[in-house]
């Protein structure tokens, strides 16, 4: 027999960070599109308005990233446990998860990974978030910060190969984040109902289906 249980999966600070970050990144992608292609796209009216909004959203995302980092590292003390894949994950976990997403999911097999508050992410998520949160996001924040102050930070820009290198890196990273958004939102609909994974990111609680542990009278 199975029964439903409510599990407190996502603490409030993480939820606040997530939505702040989500709103910020969507704003950055849309304003960024106008900044790069102003002759084709005009969503926010004046070009300067798009730049100001882009810079503000960039600062919001940078601060929320720092808060996220400090929360997981110092308060929750679970940064490494949650985000660094184990050797087992790398050896077989990622392949097993990919096998599920690309094949066994379609024939109705269950997900090989079961989320718990201490192990929220499957091995593929783990590897993806490791790259995104520890490499891509810091790089896009850093390149964006340098581009906000080109004249005062000229020396640093020259050391890094010049402004074009920086703009190119920032643009390609932004494209990676846009691609990630599509994949991330879609994967979030793969719960037992399309919104099952959205709810815990809103109120913290996730509905889990678990096997009964108590023996029944018949047995």
């Amino acid at each position: 027999m199975k029964h439903k249980e409510m599990v407190y999966m996502t603490p409030m600070p993480v939820r606040i960070w997530h939505w702040l970050n989500a709103f910020g990144i969507v704003t950055l992608c849309i304003t960024g599109l106008q900044i790069r292609f102003p002759d084709y796209i005009n969503i926010f009216g004046a070009y300067k308005a798009a730049i100001r909004l882009h810079n503000t959203a960039g600062v919001v995302v940078s601060i929320s990233y720092m808060l996220w980092f400090i929360y997981y590292l110092v308060v929750a003390k679970s940064l490494l446990k949650l985000y660094v894949p184990t050797l087992e994950d790398l050896k077989s976990g990622i392949l097993r998860q990919a096998y599920f997403y690309f094949l066994t999911y379609f024939v109705g097999k269950p997900n090989p990974h079961h989320s718990t508050p201490d192990s929220k992410f499957n091995p593929m998520q783990n590897a993806a978030y490791l790259v995104i949160m520890f490499i891509l996001l810091p790089l896009v924040v850093l390149s964006g910060a340098l581009l906000m102050y080109v004249a005062p930070l000229r020396e640093l820009l020259l050391l890094l190969g010049g402004i074009k290198m920086l703009v190119g890196t920032h643009f390609l990273l932004a494209c990676c984040f846009t691609a990630f958004l599509f994949v991330h939102i879609y994967l979030a609909t793969l719960g037992h109902t399309p919104f099952a994974h959205f709810k815990p990111m809103w109120n913290g609680w996730e509905e889990e289906t678990v096997e009964d542990t108590l023996p029944t009278k018949d047995k």
Binding site: K2, I35, R36, F37, P38, D39, N42, A46, Y47, K48, I51, R52, Y101, F102, Y105, F106, V107, G108, K109, P110, N111, N122, M148, Y149, V150, A151, P152, E155, L157, L158, G161, G162, I163, K164, M165, V167, G168, F171, L172, A174, C175, C176, T178, A179, F180, L181, F182, V183, I185, Y186, L187, A188, L190, G191, H192, T193, A196, H197, T209
Partner: protein, 353 residues
């Protein structure tokens, strides 16, 4: 001044210019420069009346000759005690004079306040620093920066990359003019336009254009730009670009459309195809070489330190970026399609991701 006589003089001089080149004016100029070319020369009133011969000879005024503007110099000069007559700029440059007089600047400064007639050069043979330097004689750079910073994002960067007249006159036909800038080794000073001597030392040739134009065809190719940028590394030099007008006007004004960033930034890569490289000349002034069309849009090495948001974006980089986004979008579309086809295979509780 007898206007007709002056026009005759000018016509005659221009005729000489086209027929006998500058040689016709030179003996007469030489006579004047024998005294006025002496650094210590003073007028009877005690004013400095020195004219730098090297700078004067490079002007178009040297071709029309001293007497075109100072036509009543007596044979007893300077012993006769009278000051030579002076033509007004409007006598020859009438349309420009009228245009300038009607502009916002007309009542603020005279022609001579910005242009020394004995050291006047066409904008195309001047560096951006030189042109902006004329404005900075009255408009304090620090205050200019503060005023622009009130509304212009990254004001310092804009002022470094634009001629004042790009926004404050009705000048048109903008191109990117690049020049080589340098600074003292080991110093954190700002970059300044490299001198002819510096570049001659670097190139070890008199024709410093060959520093970049390696094959000497008077066209700087993208490949030559890349090689040069590679060569510049670690030499305290950089290639700097400025947006400059090809057609310069004297219609100083506050143009409403210049408050709108999209005037420059939304002009698109098509408007950014034409660029030049300006080299300082041994006798002063600059000469410029055309750069391969579209070279400043090169992803990295064409002009690594010059980028104009929105306008100098690179198409190959856009294609790479689009492929990344398409890859991200294709996963939900592909997976979602098969998910729809196989939806009957899944029981509600067993397939959570």
């Amino acid at each position: 001044m007898h206007a007709n006589k002056r026009i005759l003089w000018i016509s005659f001089s221009l005729l000489m210019m086209f027929t006998l080149s500058a040689f016709a004016a030179l003996p007469e100029n030489e006579k004047c420069m024998n005294c006025h070319g002496q650094r210590e020369i003073k007028s009877i009133a005690g004013n400095n009346v020195y004219i730098d011969p090297a700078k004067f000879v490079a002007t178009t005024h040297a071709i029309v000759g001293c007497a075109s503007c100072h036509d009543r110099v007596s044979s007893d000069h300077p012993g006769d005690g009278s000051a030579p007559t002076r033509a007004t700029c409007g006598d020859c440059h009438g349309p420009i004079f009228d245009e300038y007089s009607k502009s916002l600047h007309g009542s603020k400064a005279r022609c001579n306040d910005c242009h020394n007639p004995h050291d006047v050069k066409l904008p195309v043979i001047m560096s951006g620093d030189e042109i902006n330097g004329k404005c900075a004689k009255c408009h304090d750079t620090r205050k200019t920066l503060q005023n622009h910073a009130k509304w212009l994002p990254q004001a310092e960067l804009h002022i470094d990359s634009l001629l004042c007249i790009t926004c404050h006159t009705g000048s048109k036909d903008y191109v990117i003019t690049m020049s080589i800038e340098s600074r003292q080794p080991g110093s954190k000073d700002v970059f300044k336009s490299a001198t002819y001597e510096e570049l001659a030392t670097l190139s070890k040739m008199e024709d410093i254009g060959r520093l970049i134009d390696l094959n000497g065809d008077n066209l700087v190719s993208l490949e030559e730009l890349r090689v040069f940028n590679h060569h510049l590394r670690g030499k305290n030099m950089r290639l700097w670009g400025m947006m400059t007008p090809e057609i310069v006007t004297h219609s100083y004004q506050i143009l409403e459309n210049r408050w709108d960033c999209s005037f420059c930034h939304a002009s698109g890569p098509k408007a950014m195809q034409k660029s030049f490289l300006a080299f300082p000349q041994k006798k002063g002034g600059y000469t410029r070489l055309a750069v391969e069309k579209g070279a400043i849009l090169d992803i990295l090495y064409g002009t690594p330190d010059f980028y104009m948001l929105g306008s100098t974006r690179s198409t190959p980089l856009n294609i790479v970026g689009a492929l990344i986004v398409i890859a991200g979008l294709s996963f939900p579309l592909g997976h979602g399609f098969f998910r729809l086809l196989t939806r009957k295979n899944r029981k509600e509780d067993d397939h959570e991701a």
